[in-house]
Each structure stands twice: as C-alpha cells, then as structure tokens.
Symmetry: C2
Subunit: 159 residues, 2 copies
C-alpha cells in the first residue's frame, strides 16, 4: 500500500488554526502563493485521505490546494495522487470534473470507455457520467481535479 512521507502529512497550514473562524476566513481569502515543493506537495497544503470512509477505493491521497481555507471562488482545486494499482470510487453525480494529469499517467473510466490521462491531458467529466480514475501503471498517477465549490454528493455505481 502506498504511503506519503511524513513531511507531506505534517505540512499543515501555518498557525491560522488558532484564529476564530471569521478572522481565519478573511485572512485566508487574501492573495496567496502556494509554492510547489518538487515532490508533488505544496507549501501550506496538507495531504489527507481521499475519503474518510468507504471500501470501493484504494491508494489515493488528496490535497485541497484552493477551496478549503476561506477562498471565495466558486470552484476548488484539488490534487489527487493514485498509487500503482489504486483507484477512486466508481460513482456518478450532477457536478462536473475537470481533470488535468500532472504526474505519471493513469486512466479515466467514463461510462464504459477508459481514456488515458497523461501529462497535461485535460478530461471533462460531464454531469451524470459514471466514472472512476485508476492507475494500472507502475508509477504514481497525480492529477488536478477542479470542481464546483457547491456540489452534490456522489452516488455509487452498480450497487
């Protein structure tokens, strides 16, 4: 099973956790730079599990780069990394995904068709399309996934 290094897990956003939510929100809606650290982590961004529950996924970590720290944009920018052999939930929802490959390569299953997602390939997953991202290759597969900030809950496919 795939694990990130400790640096990745401990890389929590500064000291803003001590502020009341309203101040924290205003503070974090300021313009800000998140430097890429070369190892597919961003300074000030914490790695988390893909989901807190469920058993229909394997070997994925998530980093929410924009969208969880008081930003007012109507979208979120997340980075997901799928270990070799890993896969996301097979699911559908009414919101869209925009996926951009940035590390290694993987595949996106959309309806019954699997397409390759390589470096800077962009994939648009339209509302109601059953989909799953997976990594049948031997290197980590990392991608940005942009979504609406307000979105519906995913529904599992085929259960």
């Amino acid at each position: 099973m795939f694990r990130y290094n400790e640096r990745m897990r401990k890389n929590v956003h500064g000291s803003s956790c001590d502020l009341p939510a309203s101040l924290r929100s205003r503070k974090n809606n300021r313009s800000r730079r998140y430097p890429f650290q070369g190892d597919f982590t961003w300074k000030g961004v914490r790695a988390e599990d893909y989901k807190t529950g469920g058993s229909d996924w394997e070997g994925i970590l998530r980093q929410v780069i924009i969208g969880s720290r008081g930003e007012t944009a109507k979208f979120s920018l997340r980075y997901f990394e799928i270990a070799p052999g890993g896969y996301s939930s097979h699911e559908t929802h009414e919101h869209e995904h925009v996926v951009v490959g940035i590390r290694g390569e993987g595949k996106a299953l959309m309806n019954r068709r699997a397409v390759r997602v390589g470096f800077l390939d962009v994939v648009y997953v339209s509302p109601g399309t059953p989909h799953r991202l997976f990594n049948p290759f031997s290197e980590p597969f990392g991608f940005f996934c942009i979504v609406n900030r307000e979105r519906d809950h995913p529904r599992p496919v085929g259960r």
Copy 2:
C-alpha cells in the same frame, strides 16, 4: 513580437460549428478528453488573442480549454502564454484568479508585491487585488488560469 505557429491558430474544434447552438451545447457538454500535444496546445482547443482590444498588454495568447463549448461547470480553465517581455493588463475585479504555472516561469504582481510563478506553483488572487502577470525572462511563460464562469468585468488600475 511573439507569435504562435500556424498549427496553433488553425486548431479549431472539429465540425460542431455547423450545428445549431442548442445541439452544439448539448453535444459539447458530453464528457471529453483534450489531449496535450506537447507544444502547449490541446487537441480541439483554439488559440486566441488575450483580449480583443486595449493597449495595456503585450505578447499574450489565450486558449480556453474548458468553459466556452457548452460545459456546465461554474468555472473555466484557460491557458495563457506570455512571451518574453510580455505582460497582461494591470487590472482589478471582484472575481478570483487561480494561476498554476506550467511552462517556464514568470511573475505575478499582486498589489505592490511581485511573486515568482514557476512550474506548478499555485497563486490565488483574491477579489479586489490589483494584479498583472508578466514575463521578465527569456523563455515563454505559460500558466493555467481558473476563474468563475460568471464574473465581473476587469477595471484598469492607475488610470
């Protein structure tokens, strides 16, 4: 002055231009893959000028990857490329920018502070922050810029 090659300019999206707008919209809200072609173009995406008017910018081309072909997401994904010595308008607006460097390096002026934007660095430009992207380096500077689909018009700064 910086120019793209002819391939980039002619790379117009398929044959959908012949369809009525309603059909075109439904057709283009389907799931779709935009393969990266290695030269910072995407198959099915056309390069355009940064803006149709104005004289406060120089040496920029834009490619709207997601957001102009009937997609229903509440955001647009664009790629901009600034030639050496080029710059965007110095402007402010109420919508946010999320900038992700993917080619070369450049700078983002936000208020009076210029920060470096290198490969996969992420910059959040908050509402009302006067800003300009520019390229003081000798290689092209390319970046994704994600914005809300519905957004206010920019206002020039300092005029």
